[in-house]
Symmetry: C2
Subunit: 332 residues, 2 copies
């Protein structure tokens, strides 16, 4: 009864955790310490390890032997943390997961160079995959990695653009966030030599989950519960961040309401709490919370539909369904 | 008479040039322009394209069909230019090959992100190699790329270390400069499915050429002819750069001479031309030019010895011998 030894999400998370711990020991012993210690620091500061978990869950859909997907799981998580490290320099962020960012704890040059080494290290892990699947994995990973850079560039471009369309915004978050989740799922399936149609469905599943997840992040920044969300509420409003909420509000508002919103955006001086409350109140008048929830649900439904069509027994999909529902249920 | 269609170095340089030009057109058309234009800018600003030339010359030792080494040639040159781009940020360099550096022409965030994309792009080109050779090529490239980062870290570490041994210095320039030349040669040979012993000899040839080349760079910075060297003479002396010359001078000097040298290093105020002349005069008293030339010649002889042992007909090695002699004959 091979199927009975399928892994639970909890077990997979434990596997990810322990495999990271042993790799970090190896990386931490490499010289020069000035290069590798910051890498350990960045990787130790765990987070939820969503991407490697998705790699292994996707692999486990098709086979109980998920060992061969381990190099991909590690590569994907290292790559993700490399992008966070360099993004933090670009955004001048001082805190990441309650700890000083790498360029604050060390210095900016260290953060640039250690990030570069992490990008290469991700490829080193990926290259440990089986020779037969390696070309396909590399093609997917190269494409995805470039897209993540494109997404970050668009995100920076949008800051100085006066008008961003909803379509352009969705495309940006697809590149910046969704494609790496999609790549995680598809590459886990590729490691299991899954049929092409199924790997493509998992890719689409990942895109839709990623879009839903990012829109939910936008929503929670304004309408979330600080205790659950873990960040201060209203940060996006204060810095006029072009989120789905703001772009949609600019889209559906007109007349006096639109003028009021544009006025808040252009004000140089204001009392922070007043700005948050006023803009939130405009959002409420415009039904923005509901519009955003509808969009999130639509992406989530589409994702469920994608996973439903993957041709493996239903019970094998349970873990993936549960994890993504949990991700979507963060707090609203 | 297949051997007769071997390429000359000039022809290979032309091939490299035209293949770069067509790839730059493709890259320049990619969106977002904010990401890809700086990449084109960095890559257009040519230089001597030594590394891709070495890739193709090494491949051409074993086969007249050098097409399959093109992806490696492009990957290696893109990777090299990525490291220059990020090094220029770290060194706060404002000029590269007579043009503003990327972070000066654009901005630092652009330089970080476009550099990251170049690193990934290098892997994308490398991945276009034949599936059979890909795992070996990747293994070599991953190892080399990490070593280049290690070399850059050591170089930065040395700036603040009071004492650096000659051995540590040689190890640093091996990592920072020589391994990528060695990797270029070995991977060109791997693309031609050359015997392992020969690929290893070419790797060693590259290491020795790289060390000789870097030591010559140190030598020319003090003893070169400004018109030929293209940089101001004495720059290393002014900033107390721990070059082979300085480390060797500290090594062989004693008593009053050593005190005099240490005194110049520690002075906060001085007339630049006086410092250059005085330190150069100490170097002359200590015979440093001769000691360095001996070391360069030793590495060069070792390199020639490596290439001699590669088991292909002598006439096939001519281009590689000539190119490296030319590199070594820059101006002293």
């Amino acid at each position: 009864m091979k199927d009975e030894v399928m892994y639970s999400t909890r077990e997979i998370q434990e596997l990810v955790k322990s495999s990271f711990e042993s790799e970090l020991l190896l990386i931490g012993n490499k010289k020069p310490a000035g290069l590798y210690q910051p890498i350990c620091y960045a990787l130790q500061n765990g987070g939820k390890r969503i991407r490697p978990t998705l790699v292994l869950l996707a692999c486990n859909l098709f086979t109980d032997n998920i060992r061969k997907a381990f190099p991909i799981a590690l590569a994907t998580e290292i790559f993700h943390n490399f992008t966070l490290l360099h993004d933090d320099i670009m955004d001048k962020a001082t805190v990441r997961r309650n700890k000083p960012t790498v360029h604050v704890k060390y210095n900016e040059n260290t953060a640039i160079l250690s990030g570069d080494a992490m990008n290469i290290l991700a490829y080193e892990y990926l290259s440990r995959s089986d020779n037969e699947t390696l070309p396909q994995l590399l093609e997917l990973f190269n494409k995805t990695a470039l897209e993540v850079c494109e997404g970050q560039q668009l995100d920076m471009d949008f800051e100085s653009e006066p008008l961003v369309s909803i379509d352009d915004y969705i495309n940006m978050i697809r590149l910046k966030t969704a494609v790496l989740l999609a790549c995680s799922l598809k590459s886990g399936a590729l490691a299991a030599c899954a049929p092409e149609e199924d790997t493509e469905l998992l890719y689409q599943f990942g895109i839709n989950i990623g879009l839903a997840f990012q829109l939910q992040d936008d929503l929670l920044d304004t309408f979330g519960d600080k205790k659950v969300f873990g960040k201060n509420i209203g940060g996006d409003i204060l810095c006029n961040k072009k989120t789905y909420l703001l772009l949609q509000a600019l889209n559906v508002s007109e007349g006096r309401k639109k003028k009021e919103l544009l006025d808040w955006i252009s004000r140089k001086e204001y009392i922070p709490q007043e700005k948050i409350e006023s803009v939130t109140s405009i959002y409420n008048d415009l039904n923005i919370k509901h519009i955003t929830e509808e969009k999130i649900d639509a992406y989530h439904r589409q994702a469920i539909n994608d996973l439903n069509r993957v041709r493996v027994p239903e019970f094998r999909k349970e873990q993936l369904f549960n994890l993504t529902s949990e991700m979507m249920r963060r707090n609203h």
